[in-house]
Symmetry: C2
Subunit: 228 residues, 2 copies
């Protein structure tokens, strides 16, 4: 194993709490900020599906997020000006990590290449890393390879960029579907349980659904398992 | 100014001394290792020119380096097996920084995005950074944008990936030609004098040849000028 590639939203950072806080900050306390965050996130897969299906050319996540945000603002009947809308859209650049993420990545980085393999665009992931102190070795993911997970190209082209065989790469994610797609491409897999990603009533991805290479409850636990 | 983009070979790392040392290590002490390094480097621009001209599709620098290496080995009448040839080609992944590079980048990184905008491929730059402790925020350059400097796309697409206007980016290089191309694209420019890049008899790029935004003799001096 030479490189550990990380899903980011949900696996490394707590998008729901972070987005809800920013919604309150920008839209005011009268908005149900968790419901707003959940609705915004619910438009994430359908937006990427337009690209995966070939209905539109590769489009950065920042652009897809902005389109979805306008939809949600309309549904919530919130009137934000253009500057405030842009500022809220950039909340995804400022998501906060789970408490174990920075110490775990810092340990793993001593022995492995660590990089995001996220559907977030490069500037989103770079701003997030600067803001949160995430010690990535490189910023990889959908934008450099022009393919959204779980398309095989997202995994295979990332391994190719690294000059590695797929079996020298491990996908680390809190989502069974992401790991299943990575495993199909020959990657090793590590499931990190994030039972609060979707809040206290989460029903999905509470446990590993296949024999992943590793299954842990934090990135620090993964560092323990990999002797870092 | 938000991002500082660095030329790498010559500006951040001392390729000539590093390559010569590896040539001696792999080919033995009977080879004129500095002449070998200079000859190998002399094939760098012609190899990239095939891509710039459209005569061949974008091809990673590792591949171009390997083709050039085979030519130089033949010229020097050195018979290396395939494994040793591959090992020597990867010497470019292990180049050593000038003494001011790591402390300078570390200071600049506190205030700016710092990333390579090199013609080196991602895995080359990533391995070099891990080996030498170069604290990049991301690994940018020719491969993510599929264009070799000094083509305008190399600069303009890099700014676009960062979500920045060209005038929010500064090219930092020891080569006047690189800065001239970046300036044409609207980048700010910083010349770092590296009078020993080509050894003690260097005649080119000893001084700034235009009114660059900054002109310094080390990356630490640039950090001084930018109040980092």
């Amino acid at each position: 194993m030479k490189a550990l590639l990380f899903d980011v939203f949900g696996t490394v950072v707590d998008w729901r709490t972070s987005i809800a806080r920013e919604v309150t900050g920008i839209c005011g306390p009268g908005v149900d900020s968790y419901r707003f965050a959940d609705r915004w996130r619910s438009l994430y897969q359908p937006a990427m599906e337009q690209v995966r299906s070939g209905a539109r050319p590769f489009t950065r996540l920042d652009v897809l997020h902005l389109e979805s945000l306008r939809t949600v603002l309309s549904e919530f009947e919130i009137d934000l000006d253009s500057d405030a809308t842009t500022a809220l859209n950039l909340a995804w650049h400022r998501l906060e990590p789970w408490p174990d993420s920075v110490p775990g990545l810092t340990r793993l980085r001593t022995e492995f290449v660590v990089a995001p393999l996220s559907n977030g665009n490069i500037s989103l992931l770079l701003d997030m890393a600067k803001n949160a102190g995430l010690p990535w070795d490189a910023i990889l993911g959908a934008e450099p390879v022009q393919a959204y997970k779980p398309m095989p190209d997202a995994y295979l082209r990332t391994a190719d960029i690294l000059g590695l065989r797929p079996d020298e790469c491990m996908m680390v994610a809190a989502h069974n579907s992401d790991l299943a797609a990575a495993a199909e491409c020959g990657f090793a897999t590590a499931f990190v349980a994030r039972p609060l990603e979707h809040g206290p009533t989460q029903t999905s991805d509470l446990a590993p659904e296949a024999e992943w290479t590793y299954s842990v409850d934090s990135i620090e636990s993964l560092a323990d398992r990999l002797n870092c």
